[in-house]
Assembly symmetry: C2
Homo-oligomer: 195 residues x 2
DNA sequence: CCGCGATGTGTACTGCCGTACGCATCGATG
DNA sequence: CATCGATGCGTACGGCAGTACACATCGCGG
């Protein structure tokens, strides 16, 4: 029972928490599970984190950062391709080996929806994605819309299990990317021109 | 302790389960909570439903049906407006008084993602939405893309708490709705034309 | 070298949960 | 009206969770 000298125990606990959440979901995050995963006694997790919530928040924050980093990296790759193609590639990537991670990210998203504590985290990720997409698009509003299209498409593919139609995805992104928002005009004309 | 004659007890239990899920989320659905909400003894919920899962599935199915019915109704209204406007109106409606319900629906969505048991339900709703959107659009693939745009936009608005920019939404829908998919051509040309 | 506070460890307490089960009651069937 | 199975009711049991807490150990400042 010799007490171990373990200066970054806290760090390792967060790592373990991330693994636990990845495997068992948010509901599966318990002090005991994390302690076992980190190979530390139960009391240790309660010592370093005031409560379950704090532990969860720490894990989520790290996972969010990883997500944004991954997106940034993927967007940087293939920088020769047109934006719509790059986004479609990113979708393909998200559905590939890292699919489980993608599913997690969206689970966290919605965890923020129910638990007010986590909302700022969700909001931050959302803003982060929009920011990364910003260079592809003429204005911030368009970046938000593009984010919506990306999210919606990914969610649908994750849920339906349908095969990924990359050509359709490219088309979707091309359309959303098409030029600056005509609606930028502050005019209040209610009827959209069908073009 | 006189035993009550209560022919549609099962029904009322489902109702109570819906209310419990609405208020406390999926994680909050317990036999005890439902029993209390339905004002029946604990043993009653376990008698009518084999287990927690069955109870949850029953509640979710009902909520999903309600969601689709609401969407159908909203789309039928304002049938004079162009489709993009109608969709934007629906988004506004979803963010209004029924916002809590909307949030619930998406929570259920992702519950299906983690729990394989519930996946068919999620998938069914997804297909249902796409089917309702089908008449607005030239082909089924476009309906799926439109569904993605709608979902993505709603999710973003629910999470970010940003004000709803209805004009931007209309623009988004107009673009996604624009004509039949050019990608319908089976051609395999890999590079999208930058137009 | 010496204490002392930070850190680590093990365990116990309390509460909630799913589920099982024995008994009570009543509608329906003959 | 007699009976029986479906339905209703209350309670108990085992498991797992969060948290608290007493004690052990060790780095570090004096």
């Amino acid at each position: 029972m010799a007490r171990r000298y373990d200066p970054d125990r806290r760090q390792r606990i967060v790592d373990a928490a991330v693994r636990v959440v990845t495997e068992h979901g948010i509901a599966g995050l318990t002090h005991r599970a994390v302690a076992a995963e980190a190979d530390v006694p139960l009391g240790s997790t309660t010592y370093h984190f005031a409560g379950r919530d704090e532990l969860l928040a720490a894990a989520l924050e790290r996972m969010n950062d990883a997500w944004l980093a991954d997106l940034a990296e993927r967007l940087a790759q293939h920088s020769d391709l047109p934006p719509a193609e790059r986004l479609a590639r990113y979708v393909a990537h998200s559905l590939g080996p890292g699919r489980a991670e993608t599913e997690l990210c969206y689970e966290l998203y919605f965890a923020g929806l129910r638990h007010p504590t986590l909302r700022p985290l969700s909001s931050r990720v959302l803003a982060g994605v929009a920011e990364l997409l910003r260079p592809l698009v003429p204005d911030p509003v368009a970046a938000r819309l593009l984010t919506a299209a990306l999210d919606g498409l990914l969610i649908q593919l994750l849920l339906s299990g349908d095969a990924y139609d990359e050509r359709a995805a490219v088309t979707l992104f091309e359309r959303v990317l098409a030029g600056p928002l005509p609606a930028t005009r502050t005019g209040s004309s209610p009827a959209g021109d069908t073009r």
